[in-house]
């Protein structure tokens, strides 16, 4: 039972969670598929690389997004 005072734990709620692995922003879609295959991650994230002190995420790449790019 959800209570408004209780903390929400993103690992505990019923949802499909994707394990992420990093990839460099210069990578190609082929690199992305290879990185997912090798790391067994379900999606990849690109960090802001121009400032190494900031650990922020620029964007996400999912396997479906890559495959839909060349599928009709």
């Amino acid at each position: 039972m959800l209570s408004l005072e209780q903390d929400v734990d993103l690992l505990a709620i019923p949802a499909r969670r994707l394990l992420l692995s990093p990839i460099h922003e210069t990578a190609t879609l082929w690199d992305a598929l290879e990185a997912m295959r090798l790391s067994r991650a379900e999606a990849l994230y690109v960090a802001y690389s121009n400032n190494p002190l900031i650990n922020a995420v620029r964007g996400l790449v999912t396997e479906d997004a890559v495959k839909n790019f060349y599928r009709i």
Partner: protein
């Protein structure tokens, strides 16, 4: 005073860095044509300068060593020829031993392998080996060309630029095309042939996004070459040379077949000799040197680039028998020595072989029908285009190169027929897909041309990057969750923060909303 001046400077530097970062990031997108064109200009100028240096490194020593200009190996006596070839072989051996086995792959085959199998990363050591080895090979009189090395050098410059500027991997493909176009353009002073060669042989596609930067790079390479060497073409054929009547067309059919056999013969000798690649490099270089020296004994015209022979053939100064002998000797020697590991190029020799065989066909035909056949120089040019097309599997590049080298539009019509026959017979009768593809196949470096794979390799991840996300903590209360969802993010990214790892995890914001 000094302290107050620093913060604005730092601010500008940071701003400049940010702008450059945005520029770099924008190249990941498919439609980054202006950015790629700008980079094509930089790569074109850089590759043009390197090729100019490469040509000077060959032409100065040859002008000093040889008695009557950089192509006059024929005027050397036997001992001098053997001495030059031997000294060159020793220098090559030293270079290749120092470089190591893994850095001996050079020239066009290596560029194709690295472009399609390694995302365009060309190792620097191979590049240096190609530069120095190419210079030594040509100076010492080996039967090789300078255009293959030029292509490797141009592609290497592009790859280095992409690496230094930390450009996205997908941009390397176009930039290497730019480097190759500039290299061909600066080598032959043929800007259009540079573009077509890069698109047809290296990039293997014709697209607008590819064409525009490559055209500018080729222009830049030609401009650098014209500043350094002047604007004259490599060959001079008389402008009035043309087919006299359509009755010459059957002769063009015959020439197409002759050239196809020569092209297939060249590839066959080359790939059969490649089977000796497992032999020690010292043995292979010794074999290559002995082979060239023995063939150069009766036929010294095979030594070096051979453009003096081409000039003589175009001018009709060589007899049919001489042309045939030089053509066949050059075919065997070039195909064999390059396969044995001499770091020279294939393109130049194919032009000389085609020119000699075409000239022989023309000279024989003119002897039989003096008033009905065009002058032999015309057949030299057509043979040259046909052989380049058949051996390299590059019909358009060959046609454009021959046109640009001669400034003679009359050669287009008959050349088209010869090129079509030569390419068809080489591909479909002899089953060869061009010397570079066969070279890679025999050495176990096949190229994967599946269309989907090529699309994936040429597209940066920025094209599918979903930036509608929020980075958040793993736990939060209801009010914070409401604030998070107010911005309608598609994804929530958080760190699991367990003891073992700080792996990032993502879930759809819609799932959180559904939970509430």
């Amino acid at each position: 005073m000094k302290d107050s001046a620093n913060p604005p400077r730092l601010k500008y530097l940071l701003r400049l860095r940010e702008v450059f970062h945005q520029f770099r990031y924008s190249i990941s997108y498919v439609e980054a044509l202006p950015q790629l064109t700008f980079l094509g200009l930089i790569v074109g100028v850089a590759a043009g300068l390197v090729i100019a240096l490469f040509r000077l490194c060959i032409e100065f020593p040859l002008g000093w060593l040889l008695p009557a200009g950089p192509e006059s190996f024929e005027l050397l006596d036997l001992a001098q020829r053997w001495g030059l070839l031997g000294a060159g072989a020793l220098a090559l051996l030293l270079l290749l031993l120092v470089a190591g086995k893994s850095h001996r792959q050079v020239s066009v085959g290596h560029v194709l392998d690295r472009l399609y199998n390694y995302q365009g990363h060309l190792p620097a050591t191979n590049w240096y080996v190609q530069f120095v080895g190419g210079v030594i090979s040509v100076i010492s009189g080996q039967s090789v060309g300078r255009e293959g090395p030029a292509i490797h050098l141009g592609a290497g410059v592009a790859s280095r630029c992409a690496r230094w500027l930390k450009l996205p991997n997908n941009s390397r493909f176009t930039l290497i095309g730019c480097g190759v176009a500039s290299a061909i353009s600066a080598s032959f002073n043929t800007p259009l042939a540079g573009v077509i060669f890069a698109m047809e042989v290296i990039l293997m596609e014709y697209t607008l996004v590819g064409f525009v930067p490559v055209i500018l790079a080729s222009f830049s390479g030609a401009a650098v070459a014209q500043i350094v060497f002047g604007g004259s073409p490599l060959l001079q054929i008389e402008q009035h040379s043309q087919m006299l009547t359509l009755l010459e067309l059957p002769l063009m059919l015959v020439m197409g077949l002759v050239i196809a056999c020569a092209g297939a013969g060249f590839i066959a000798v080359h790939i059969r000799t490649l089977r000796l690649l497992h032999w020690p490099i010292a043995v292979r270089l010794l074999l290559a040197t002995l082979f060239t020296a023995t063939l150069a004994w009766p036929v010294p015209e095979i030594m070096g680039l051979g453009y003096d022979t081409l000039d003589a053939a175009v001018a009709g100064k060589l007899a049919a028998q001489t042309l045939l002998i030089v053509g066949v000797a050059k075919l065997i020697s070039s195909a064999a020595v390059i396969a044995l590991g001499v770091p020279g190029g294939i393109i130049g020799p194919t032009l000389i072989i085609g020119a000699c065989l075409g000239g022989a066909v023309g000279t024989i035909a003119q002897g039989l029908y003096p008033t009905a056949i065009a002058e032999p120089g015309f057949y030299v040019i057509i043979g040259m285009a046909g052989m380049m097309a058949a051996a390299l599997n590059a019909p358009m590049a060959a046609l454009v190169a021959a046109l640009e080298l001669t400034y003679n539009p009359h050669m287009i019509f008959p050349s088209m027929l010869v090129i079509v026959i030569a390419c068809l017979v080489t591909r479909n009768v002899f089953n060869y897909q061009g010397v570079f593809i066969e070279q890679l196949r025999v050495t176990g470096r096949d190229l994967d041309f599946r269309p989907a794979l090529q699309v994936l390799k040429k597209t940066g991840i920025a094209n599918v990057l979903n930036t509608n996300l929020l980075v958040t903590r793993r736990r939060f209360n209801y009010e914070e969750a409401k604030q998070l969802l107010a911005g309608h993010p598609e994804w929530l990214v958080f760190e699991a923060h367990d003891d073992q790892s700080r792996d990032k995890t993502a879930l759809r914001a819609a799932d959180l909303a559904t939970f509430f």
